[in-house]
């Protein structure tokens, strides 16, 4: 943890994405992505449905490995290490790069077990209670559940469940958290809580978030990547592409690309 605190100040990049393409079988879902993700910042991916945001974010922790036929070309380096190097073990990658999903997916066990599971599989079995408390505190959930750690996690509200999922992710001390539409199943009040939490977490973690909610991207991210689907000339293939990657404040006031402007101002399609 201490190392991270010291790193926090400089804004070096944590991921370098070079010429990345991801295909499912013959179908190229997204291609030619080049971007540097800055450490300790929130980077948002936006774009119309099907443009490959989820596909892309999953390639950051090799969750795409689990999808049949998914193939990643190009490179993603994580702090200098090529994530798709043959020697790299995806299991280790996922421990360093946590992921939070669209629908809260707590394990159907107690709140505590939800967090200790990750600790156990990562052999972080010392001071488990402290770790549980710390993770829950960081996820702004401790006060709400500290008396009910043995309650079944499914009894929590949707927003609490999502914070629990964030807690169990940060419990294993990753550097980066990937979030694929983490609030789309939540109401605005719970969404607000998660967004506030993200602002806290970004002090310590780098955060990548996919969101359909432009407002969410605009109000909570530091950098913003806009993707869209380009249709091939013969109209047969539809491939996702990165249109613009920019500081959020710039993107929403003076986007470089006409397409971005159309999308963010709701004049798209």
């Amino acid at each position: 943890m201490e190392t991270k605190e010291t790193v926090q100040v400089n804004s070096e990049s944590v991921f370098n994405v070079t010429d990345l393409s991801v295909s499912y079988g013959d179908f190229v879902a997204i291609k030619n992505v080049n971007m540097d993700i800055t450490k300790n910042k929130i980077t948002a991916f936006i774009g119309p449905s099907g443009c490959g945001k989820s596909t892309l974010i999953r390639s950051f922790n090799r969750m795409n490995d689990l999808i049949l036929g998914a193939k990643v070309n190009g490179t993603i380096t994580y702090q200098g290490v090529d994530l798709y190097d043959k020697m790299v073990d995806p299991v280790q990658v996922r421990r360093r790069i946590g992921m939070v999903f669209q629908k809260p997916n707590p394990f159907p066990k107690t709140i505590k077990e939800n967090i200790t599971f990750g600790l156990k599989v990562n052999n972080m079995t010392d001071n488990m209670d402290d770790r549980v408390e710390k993770a829950l505190t960081q996820a702004a959930l401790w006060d709400e559940v500290k008396d009910d750690l043995d309650k079944n996690a499914l009894e929590l509200s949707g927003g609490q469940q999502q914070r629990l999922c964030i807690a169990r992710t940060i419990a294993v001390e990753p550097d980066t958290i990937l979030m694929d539409e983490p609030c789309s199943a939540l109401d605005p009040v719970a969404t607000k809580k998660i967004e506030d939490l993200m602002q806290e977490l970004v002090k310590e973690f780098s955060i990548l978030i996919v969101t359909h909610n432009m407002q969410q991207a605009s109000r909570s991210s530091d950098y913003c990547a806009f993707f869209t689907t380009k249709t091939s000339d013969d109209g047969k293939r539809r491939t996702g592409e990165l249109v613009e990657f920019n500081e959020t404040s710039v993107m929403f006031t003076t986007p470089d690309k006409e397409l971005t402007e159309q999308y963010i101002s709701g004049r798209f399609g």
């Binding site: 605009s218 929403f252 006031t253 003076t254 986007p255 971005t260 402007e261 101002s265 004049r267």
Partner: protein, 213 residues
Amino acid sequence: MSLQEKIENLETDLHLMGRLVLDALVDGVRALEDKDVNRAIATIEKDDEIDAAYLKIDQDWVELMATEQLVATDLRLSTSILQASLHLERLGDLAVYLGNTTQEIFDSPVPETVHATVVEMGDLVIDMASSAMESLKNRDKDLALATAEKDNQVNRLYNSMLEEAPKIAGNEDLFNGLFRLVTCIRTLERGGDHAVDICELTHFLVTGKFEEF
């Protein structure tokens, strides 16, 4: 109404207000030139209409901002509209001042040179305000820059006038008129600034950058 329409309406309202203000300015300057009290009164009366237009734009603007999230060009445009309306409102005040001055001096003698200069400056400000609004309408940042440069002329005229004025002052009968016209000149100089500010808004609208011309 769609966002697009709402913004378009707002912009139309602004340009209608612009027209009103320009008309008032023309009336004011001409009234002063011709010492035409009726026209002066007409000028002053136009101010209510201008104020109403101003209030409506502000009101609609707030409603628009409350109900829609504007970004990029939309946002810059609506910001420019709000700011421009404020400048126009103050230009309207300027016209009123010209009208008032006309009423004060119509039956007194005025120093000819000063009078001529005031009218010249007035025409210059009208021209600037009109071009400024034009540049805003057409997103024409070159026109905006050219217009802003005209402010130098205004300032030159203003400064030379200030140098001149003390020299002219021989005839005490002219004093009242003289002082009144001097305040007009000062007011017109400020009016030029407002036109420049509108030009800055054009620049902001087109480039997204705030810059002092």
